[in-house]
Each structure stands twice: as structure tokens, then as C-alpha cells.
């Protein structure tokens, strides 16, 4: 151990790890609050730091474009949409009504079991180590991939969005009196 604490603190390794821990906590703890909040509005709002932390994780992994998309679409679009829906359905919840149903216990058990099994399976595996640096121009490469060879997926995705837009309008339309 030739490096001192100060040196370590100033090296990128430490800060990387620190950022990872922060973002991981930012994902998991608000996530827990999302599902356990009694107040529906609070639950939706807790989604915001969760999704933002996910974007942070993307940044750590070097996918800047994706992080931007995540913030724009998820935090800026979907959460707002959810907030609108909550407002329109007055689903703020009454204090005396339970927000969870009778499956809380067994649901937790099931989820825990799945998590346990999957973690166990993951631990058995030798995963690739990864390279310290990756070739640059990630965004460029992403664009190239989207426009060919994954052009079809790209176009289909746009159709899906169109259909969803129309569908949402039709379904949510008020009944003619």
C-alpha cells in the first residue's frame, strides 16, 4: 500500500466507487419508498429520485446518451403523466384506507424468493471483467446501430408510439353525453 489516503481520495477509483454507492442507494431506497408510501402522490414523487439515480448509473457505465434519454423521457414525461393521472382520479387515498392488500406478506416472500434464487445463480457465474476504457463516440455508434442494422426496431418503435398516442386519446376520451 504505497498510496496514502489522500492520494486515494483524489484518485478516480475512490470517487467511482463512491458515486456507484450513492446512485445504488438512490435507486433502492426511493424505490422502496415508492412501493411502500401510504400517500399515492408521495409514492409517485419518490419515483423521481429513483429514476434519476438510474440515469446516474447509466452515466457511470458510460452511456451518456441513454442517461439523457432516461431523464427526459422517464423523469420528465412518464412521471408527469402519472402525476396527471393521480390528480384526475383523485387517487390521493384516504388516511384510513389501507393501501396494501392481503397479499403483502406472500408477495414479499415471493419476491424475496425470486431475488434469492437469482442472486445465487448470479454468484455461480464467472462474468467478464470489462475494460477500463471503451472506444469513444458511443453516441455515434448508438446512432449507427439504430439506423442500421436495427432500423426496423427503430421504425416499429415509432409506430408503437403513434399507436399509443392515438389509443390513449381514444380511450381516455370523455363519453359523448
Amino acid at each position: 500500500m504505497t498510496a496514502t489516503l489522500g492520494q486515494y481520495l483524489h484518485s478516480g477509483a475512490f470517487w467511482y466507487l463512491f458515486a456507484f454507492v450513492c446512485f445504488a442507494a438512490g435507486v433502492l431506497i426511493p424505490g422502496l419508498l415508492v412501493v411502500l408510501s401510504r400517500n399515492l402522490l408521495h409514492a409517485a414523487l419518490w419515483l423521481l429520485p429513483c429514476l434519476a439515480s438510474v440515469a446516474g448509473l447509466f452515466l457511470l457505465l458510460g452511456a451518456e446518451m441513454l442517461a439523457a434519454i432516461q431523464i427526459l423521457v422517464y423523469c420528465g414525461g412518464i412521471v408527469v403523466l402519472i402525476l396527471f393521472a393521480i390528480m384526475l382520479t383523485q387517487g390521493l387515498g384516504h388516511a384510513d384506507v389501507r393501501v396494501t392488500n392481503q397479499q403483502l406478506f406472500w408477495g414479499s416472500v415471493g419476491a424475496a424468493a425470486l431475488a434469492g434464487v437469482m442472486l445465487h445463480l448470479l454468484s455461480l457465474q464467472m462474468w467478464p471483467l470489462g475494460t477500463p476504457t471503451i472506444p469513444g463516440d458511443v453516441t455515434g455508434r448508438l446512432a449507427d446501430a439504430l439506423l442500421s442494422p436495427y432500423l426496423l426496431a427503430f421504425e416499429v418503435a415509432s409506430v408503437v408510439l403513434l399507436v399509443a398516442m392515438i389509443g390513449a386519446i381514444v380511450i381516455a376520451r370523455a363519453e359523448p353525453e
Binding site: 392488500n101 397479499q103 406472500w106 408477495g107 415471493g110 419476491a111 424468493a113 425470486l114 434464487v117 437469482m118 445463480l121 455461480l124 457465474q125 464467472m126
Partner: protein
Amino acid sequence: MVLGGFELFLIPGLPFVAFVLIAAFLLKRGEKAAPFVLIAALTGSLVITIQALASIAGGKPISVSLPWLQVGGLSLDLGVLLDHLSGLMMITVCTVSLLVQVYSIGYMKGEIGYGRYFAYMSLFSGSMLGLVIADNIVQTYIFWELVGICSYLLIGFWYRRPSAAAAAKKAFVVTRFGDLGFLTAILILSFQKPAVFGFDQLSHSIRLMGPGVVTAVALLIFSGAVGKSAQFPLHIWLPDAMEGPTPVSALIHAATMVAAGVYLVARAYFIFAAAPAALLVVAIIGTATLFFAATMGVAENDIKRVLAYSTISQLGYMMMALGVGGYTAGVFHLTTHAFFKALLFLTAGSVIHSVHSNDMWQMGGLGKRMPITAFTCLIGALALAGIFPLSGFWSKDEILTAAWYSHLPGHQIIFVVALAGVVMTAFYMFRLWFLTFCGEPRSEQAEHAHESPWVMAVPLLILATLAVIAGGLKLHIPWTTGGIGEMIRFGDEKETVSVFIIGLSLVVSLLGIGVAWAAYRANLISPAAFNARFPGLHRLLKNAWYFNRAWELFATRVVLAGARMAAWFDRHVVNGMVDGVAWLAGWAGRRLRVAQTGQMQFYALVFIFALVAGLVVVFGRGQSLLSLVMRP
């Protein structure tokens, strides 16, 4: 032979054609012509039979057959067989039927259903002839059943009368009992290898079958004969069958259909000869029948019922004869009995027609008023009683001789019983004659009785002539080359003549007549006093030994009990199983329904649990994920 033997098919065919014509065209409007169509057909059949018989002239029989059905390994043919046995029988059937139809023109005049009557009569004639001429046992069975149907239709001719309808049903059901045995015999034969039904082929293949099978077949065939020929214990239908018109009784229930049973045993005699146990059974039943029926005839007051019991008794004599080995004797008596019994029934019919009653105690003094009827009836009575030189004397003696010289164990007892039967036969017959035709009229109608018209009287005279001369068959059968002893025989029967037996039978017959004369004509013995001294006997005989009651008890106790058990089984076990399966499905469904909550979150939870379980099962052994997914 005009058509190479195929014209024999016309013998039953012509009456069937008559049936179709009458049924189609002559039921209402042209009904006056109906009897003549039938008479023409019967005459044609008779002519063809005579011509065919003459062409054999003592030689080999004619047999022609057409293939009919081939199913699997079985083949059935339709065929005709004309030998001396069938030829003689057919001449008898045609002759008696002809005379009865002529008689019926007068007897049934003015009746509703006149056309229907002759339609049924033609159907019956055709069926009877078909039965006689059949060359294989299945064909015999087919016509056997047809004859049964015709009997049902004719007994119940006046169907609006409840007693007639009941009698027809009883006849059919009781004979059905026997027919079941007959059918079983045919089924057993169909399982033999090879499966043959023709009488000629059977006589050869019978040697290849085991003795148990042969005895079973013989007994089952005999059971059919027991039903049709009204042998004990299936005799109960014949007295009730008198509900039908008297010509029907004369033709069907005296001369022809009831004789079919005897004819069947004679036809299939080679089977019986191979099964001595069966022959013993035949003899015993025949003897029992002749005795019991004679006792019942003694106590009857209805003129037709006396004759019915007489018929049963005489059929018993024929069966007994066949059983003890007197093949010729049985067939001989069959022929003579046909003539004189038909005669007796027709005379009874004339009497009933005049007096409008069946009760003999309403009659009396008819001899002066109906001389032809009285005379012909006397001829018939003497023939039945077996008085020399009438036909009945010869045939009855042959039977008694056969019984005495038979090799059957216990034949002496049979002989004694038969002799006792002769006494009773003579007695009841002349009781009938004296009560009906002698003394003073006992009712208004008897006073004003008159002779029958010629259309009814002429057949009586013809039949009376036949009853007298039919004994001549012993010497010579017309259109053949010899007497009945040579033409119709089985194996090497030797003809024995015993003067002692002849004399004995004459004596007992005269004894019977004498007792009847003393009781009913000369008033030397009083029947009423006799009945008072033996009330139990009188009741027993009057109630026909309670046979009807016994069968009734059997049907209600035994058969119904069995039926109730079967019904319970069906309702609770069979239905129970079916219901049980349905109940099980419902129960399982109710139990499984709990899983279908309709709540999506519950389904998702189940899904995740299943996924976890699947993962554990697949990856439980600790391999890595990638190694399973990517094969090298």
C-alpha cells in the same frame, strides 16, 4: 317336374300371393271374393303337391335351395324339401284348410272383418306350408314364428272383446317361452364347425358333435315343440285360444299349427335318435300331457274347451309315440287326428252357430234338429274313441303297440297310462255327444235350432268320409308306392301287430262309451251325486289342476322378484356409477374453483412462485446459467 323342382316354392307361395291380393284389394269392397282367391290358391298348392309326390313315386325326395344370406362363416339358404313326410303333411294341410275355408264362407257370413279373416287365413296357410316344406332348420324357425303371429291375429280376431285379446296375448307369450328354446338350439348349431342348418347335412354332421351338445340341442328343439303343441306344462294357452272363431280353432288349433311341434320332432328325429335321454323326456312329457289333459276334458262344460283338452291329450299321444320310438305311429296319428278333430270342431261350430251358446248344458235334443251335424259328429267321436274300422282306431293302436314293444325304460307304465287315457277319451267325447245331441232341449235356442246351410254341411261330410277312410293309409298312401309303414319310417322299425293290444284297446274304448251312456243318456249314474261324493276331485279337474294359477304365481313371484332386483341394480349401481362420475366432476370442480379468483395480482404471484420453482428445478444442481444456455 315342370320347373326342375322350383315350382315347389309355389306351394307356400300361392297362399302368400292370395294374402297380398286380399290385403291390398279385397278387405272392404270386394270381400265377398276373398275366400275364393284363397280357395283357388290352396287348390293350386294341393295340385302341385300331388304332382310332385307322384313324381317321386317312392324314390328319392326332391330338394331345391337358393342361397340367401352369407354372413361371416354362416350361410343360410331358402329351400324346399319334398319327401314322403312333408308331402303327406302338406296334402293334409291343404285339404283341411280348403274345407275350412269353404265352411267359413257360411260361418263368417255377415261378420265385420270378413275380408280381414281370409287375409289372415291365407297368411297362415302360406306360413304353415312354408314351415312344412322347409329344408333347413332356420327356415323352419322363420315360418314357425310366422305361424305364431297368425295364431295371435286369428285368436284375437274379435279384438274388441277383452277376453279374446287376452287369450291371443297369452297364446303368444306362452309359445314364446318354448320358441326361446328353439332359437337357442339354432344358436348352438350355429357355433358348431361346420355350421350347417339343412336337415340333410345335419343328419351327417350330427355324428361329429359330442353327446352333451346333441342332447342339449334335442331338448331345446323339443321345448319349442312343447310350446307350439301345447304339451304340459305350456298347454295353458290352448283352451283359452277357443276365443277365436270356430273354423280358426278347427284349422289352427286342431289340425295344423299345433301339429307343427310334432312335425318338427319328426323332421329332426335323427337328432333325437342320437340322444336317448331326450327321447325319454319326450315320452314322459307326452304321457303326462295325454293323461292330465284327458282328466281336464272330463270336467268341462264348454263344448269347444272339451275339444281343446282333447286336442292337447291327442298331441300328447303323438309325442309319446315319437318318444317311445314309434315314428310311423306318431305321424300316422297326426294325419288321422287332423281329419277327425277338424271335423269335430266344425260340427261344434255348426252347433254354436245354431244355438248361440258354447255351454253344453244349454243344448240337448239337437240330433233331431240337425241330423247331418249329429251324424258327422258321431263319426268323428267314434274315430277319436278309436272304434274299428275308423281311422282313429288304426292310428291309436299303432301308438299303443309301439309303446308296448318299445325299448324305453318304463314303457310298461307308459302303456298303462295311455290305456287309461283311452277310457277317458271315449268317456268325455261321448259325454259331449250325448249332452249335445240327445235328450230334450234344455234351452230356448236349442228348441229352435236348425241345420246349417250346405256350404257348411258339405265340408262336414267330406271330412267325415276322410275320417272313415284315412285308416287306409296304413295300406297305401295315394300317389306313392306303398303304405305308411314303408313310406314314412325311421331306421329299421319293424311293424308288429298284436291282436291282444287291439282287442284290449277296443274293450276299454267301449267301456268309456258305456260309462258315458250310463251317466248322460240312460241316467243310470248321476253325475251330480258323483260330484257331491268327490268334491275335491271335482274341483281339481274343473280348475284344470290349477296350472294357470301355478304359472300366474311363477310370473308374479319369481319373475317379478327377479325383475325388481334387476331394476334396483340398474337404478342404484349402474346409474349410481354414472351419477358418481358426474358428482366427482362437480366436487373436483368445486375444489379447484378456489384458484380462479379473478384477481390479476394473485395470478401474478402464482406466476412468480412457479418461476422460482422452475428455476430451482432446472438449475438446482449448481451449474452455471451460461453453461446451460450456450452449448459449446
